[in-house]
Symmetry: D2
C-alpha cells in the first residue's frame, strides 16, 4: 500500500470494494469509525482509540459555530448571488480562515512542535517557555494562542478542552509547554493574557500527533460544517439583502459626514 517514498495510497476501488486509508471502507470503516475518526485516520494512519476520538471530536466541535463572523457573512453574501452553488458559498466562507482568524491554530502548533522537536531534551518547560516568549518579544510578533477581546481572564472553551484532554489522558508535553508559555508571557509582559481556544487546539492537536502543517485544517473542516447551518438559515430567513443595504447605507453616511 505504500510506495517507495513511504507514501500511502489514500483510496482506490474495484467493482466490488472500496479501499480507503488501507482499510475496507464497507467492512471495516462504515458503521464503526465516526466522522472525526476519518480525519484522524487520514492524518495519523490508524483508527483513534476512544480517548483520542473524544478529544479530536471536541476540538472540531469547539470551532463549528461562533455566531456572526466575517466567514459567515462572506458565505451568506455569496449565496445571495449564486444560490445554485452551495459549495461556492461554503468555499467563500472558508477562504478567510487564514493568518488572522483560524490560522493561529497553526501558529500555536508550530511554536510548540518546533520547540519540542528542536531543543535539548533536558530543558524544562519553564526554560523553553522563557526562550519562546523572549524570541517573540524580540521579533515584535504576537504569541499565537494568547489574547482574546471578550473572553477574559479565561476562554471557557480553552479551559473545557484542556479538561477533556486531561480526562482522556491525551494532554502531554505540548499542552504543558503551552501552559508554561502562557505563564511566561504574563510574567514577561506583566499583564493578564487569556490562553485562548486556538492555543488550546494547537496544543492538544499537537499532543494527538497532528503535524502543525495541517493543523489549520481542523478549523477549516469545523467551519465547513458550521457554514451549512448558516446557509440553511439563509434559505429559511434571508439576511444577505438586509446586510447589503445596511452596509451600503452606512458607507453612504460615512462619505457625507
Amino acid at each position: 500500500m505504500n510506495d517507495q517514498r513511504g507514501h500511502r495510497s489514500l483510496g482506490s476501488s474495484t467493482a466490488t470494494s472500496i479501499t480507503v486509508y488501507g482499510m475496507d471502507l464497507c467492512a471495516d470503516i462504515l458503521g464503526s469509525v465516526d466522522f472525526a475518526g476519518m480525519l484522524y485516520l487520514g492524518l495519523l494512519d490508524r483508527v483513534p482509540n476512544a480517548a483520542e476520538s473524544r478529544v479530536l471530536n471536541s476540538l472540531l466541535v469547539s470551532l463549528v459555530e461562533h455566531g456572526v463572523t466575517p466567514s459567515t457573512i462572506a458565505a451568506r453574501m455569496t449565496y445571495f448571488g449564486a444560490p445554485e452553488s452551495l459549495q461556492g458559498a461554503i468555499a467563500a466562507g472558508l477562504l478567510g480562515l487564514g493568518s488572522v482568524l483560524v490560522g493561529t491554530i497553526e501558529g500555536a502548533a508550530r511554536m510548540l512542535q518546533e520547540e519540542l522537536a528542536g531543543s535539548a531534551a533536558t530543558a524544562t518547560d519553564e526554560e523553553r517557555a522563557a526562550r519562546i516568549v523572549g524570541q517573540f518579544r524580540a521579533d515584535r510578533r504576537q504569541i499565537p494562542g494568547l489574547g482574546h477581546p471578550i473572553h477574559k481572564p479565561t476562554d471557557p472553551r480553552a479551559a473545557r478542552l484542556f479538561e477533556i484532554a486531561a480526562e482522556e489522558q491525551v494532554a502531554g508535553s505540548h499542552c504543558h509547554l503551552m501552559e508554561a508559555v502562557h505563564l511566561a508571557a504574563e510574567a514577561q509582559y506583566g499583564k493578564q493574557m487569556t490562553l485562548n481556544v486556538t492555543g488550546a487546539i494547537g496544543a492538544i492537536a499537537s499532543d494527538l500527533g497532528i503535524p502543525w502543517h495541517v493543523a489549520r485544517g481542523i478549523g477549516v473542516a469545523a467551519r465547513s460544517v458550521g457554514l451549512i447551518a448558516h446557509l440553511r438559515d439563509e434559505q429559511l430567513a434571508p439576511t444577505s439583502n438586509g446586510i447589503w443595504h445596511e452596509v451600503e447605507e452606512s458607507q453612504r453616511q460615512a462619505f457625507q459626514e
Copy 2:
C-alpha cells in the same frame, strides 16, 4: 432564542459563556456531542440520538475519501502555487462539488422529498416510483442516484449504508421510495442500473429529516475532511509538479498527432 420569523440565533457569546444552537457550548456540547452531531444539531435543532448519530456519521464517512478525483487534483494543483493558504486549496477542491459530482445527493433527496410531500398519502411506492421514472424519461433527464461506471450491479457503499440505516431503524419512507424508483427504472429502461452511493445518501438523509436544499452539504463537509489528508500527503510527497508536466506533455502530443 427565536426571532419572529421562527429563526434561531445560531451562536452568541458573553465574557464567560458561549451559546451555540441554543445550548451552552462548554457545559452541554463539548465532550458529549460529536462532530457529526453538530451538523445534525445545526440543521435539525436537537442532539441526535445514538441511532441517528451512527447513521449520519456513516453518511459523512462514506464520502470522505475516494482516491484520485477531479476535486483532489484541483486542491493539489492549488496548493502548489499557494502553499501558505491551506484553506484556499481546500476551497478549490470543494468548488467542483456541483451538479455532476456530489450534487446528485441533492437531486435524489429533492426527488424523494418533493414526491412524498406533494402527492396523495394513499399512493403506493410503486405508483409514486412509476410516475417519477416516467417523468424523468419524458424530460430526458437522468434519474439522480442511479447508475455507476464501476460498481455494478451493486454499489457496496449504498448497500452498507442502507443496512446501517435499517439496523438503526432510521430507514423509512424515503429509503423505501428510492428502492421502488430503482426497481421501476430497471423495469422501464429494461436494463440493470446500480443504486449508487449518492442515491443512498439522498434517501437516508431525507429519512433523517435533512432538507434537500442543503443535502449537498453532507458531501461538501465530508470532502473538506478528506482533502486535508490529501494536502498532508502533498506536503510529504508532492505530486502536483509531476501532474502538471504529465498533463503538459500529453497535451503537447495531442497537438502533434
Copy 3:
C-alpha cells in the same frame, strides 16, 4: 496548431519564445494588443479590429465597479481573516457572480443566440420576440436582461452601451432582437420594464460572436479588476471589522425584538 478536434493549443513556450493563441507573444501581441483584446483573441481566435475592441472594452468597463455589493462585502470579509491571500479574497468576491447577480448576462445571451440559431430565417424580430416572451410567461420565468430596482425607465449603462455598439457598427441581429423582446415584454405585461445593463451586455456580446456558454465570464473578469481596487481601499481604510460588528449588532437586536 489545431489538433484533430479542431481544438487550439492555447499556449506553449520554448527557451526563447512564447506562443499564445497561435501568435508570438513578444513580437506580435505585447505592445499592440490590449487587455480586452486578449479576451477577444482567446474566445474568437483573432485580434479584434478597432471597432470590436472599443465595444468589448466598454462591456468590460461597464461592470468593473458598482459600489457596495454582496461581492465586494464577501471579498472584504475574506481579506480580514486572510490578508496574506489577496487571490483568496478576490476569489471569494467572484464566487457569488452566479444566477442572480451576473449570470443574467448568460441568460440574455442564451435566449438571443438560441432563438437566432434555431428558428426560421424568415421570422421577423417581432414574431421571435412575441414567442420568447410568451414562452417565459408560460414557464413563469423572469426574462433575463429586463427589470431594475433603481434605474427606471432607462438603465443609463444599457443606453450608452447600445449607443457605442451602434457607433461602431457592431450592433446587429442580437441587439435588435433584444430590443424587440423588451417591447414585446412591456406590451404583454402591460407595464414599464427597464432593459438593463446585463441585457445590453448579453445582446452586444452575442453580436461580437461570444458564445453564451462563457458570456458570464465578461462579468467575472470585470469584477476581478474592480475587486482589486476594493481590496486596496480595504488596506488603506479597513471597513471589514466595522461591517462585522454592525451585522452582529443588528442580528442581536433582531433576536431581542
Copy 4:
C-alpha cells in the same frame, strides 16, 4: 467624494446616473477609458495617459495565457464537477496564484518599493542592489524576480516589457534598481540568473505607482481573462476526464512499482 480618512467612495448610483471612481460612468468613462484603464483608475485615482495605458496593458497581457499550468488544470477539474458555475471554476484557478506562482510580482515590487522609500536618497543603485542581494543571501531567501527553469539567459517577456516601458518613458527608478539587483545577484552568486517576467512586472508596476500590496492583483486579473478561454476550450473539447484518469493511472502504477 473622500471621507475624513481621505478614503474614496468607489462607486454609487442614482436612478439616472452611475458614479465610479468619482467620474460619471456613462458620460466620462464608457467608450473612452479602456479595461486596463479601469485598474489604473481604481488604484491610482486618475485616468492613465496613453503611455501609461500602453504599459499597463502590456503587463496584464503578458500574464493572460501561458499554456497548461497548475491554475488551468485546477479550473478545468473544477468545471468538470460543476459546469453550472463558471465563476467557481475561474475562482478555483485563481486560488493558486499565491507565493509560488504569481506572488513573486508582489515580492519584487515590495523589495524595490521598500528600498527606494526607505534608504538614503544619495545611495547609488549599485549600493542599494548590493545591500539587497547581501540581505537575501544572509536570510537564505530567493530573490524575487530572478531565475527561470526554461527561459535562459533571457526571459523574452521581461525584455519586451522593459523595452515598452522605456519606449513610453515609464521606466524609472524601480526598473533601474531591478536591473542593478540582477547584476549584483549574478556577481555575488557567480552564475547566470534570468531576470524573469514577474521581476519585470514588479519593477514596471512600481514605476507606474502601483503599491506592492496589490501588485499580485495584476496577475490575478490577467489570469481571470485567460481562464475564460481555457473553460471555453474545455466546453468545446473536454480534457478533464482524460486528465483525471491519466493521473489516477499513474498513481496506480507508482504504488505497484
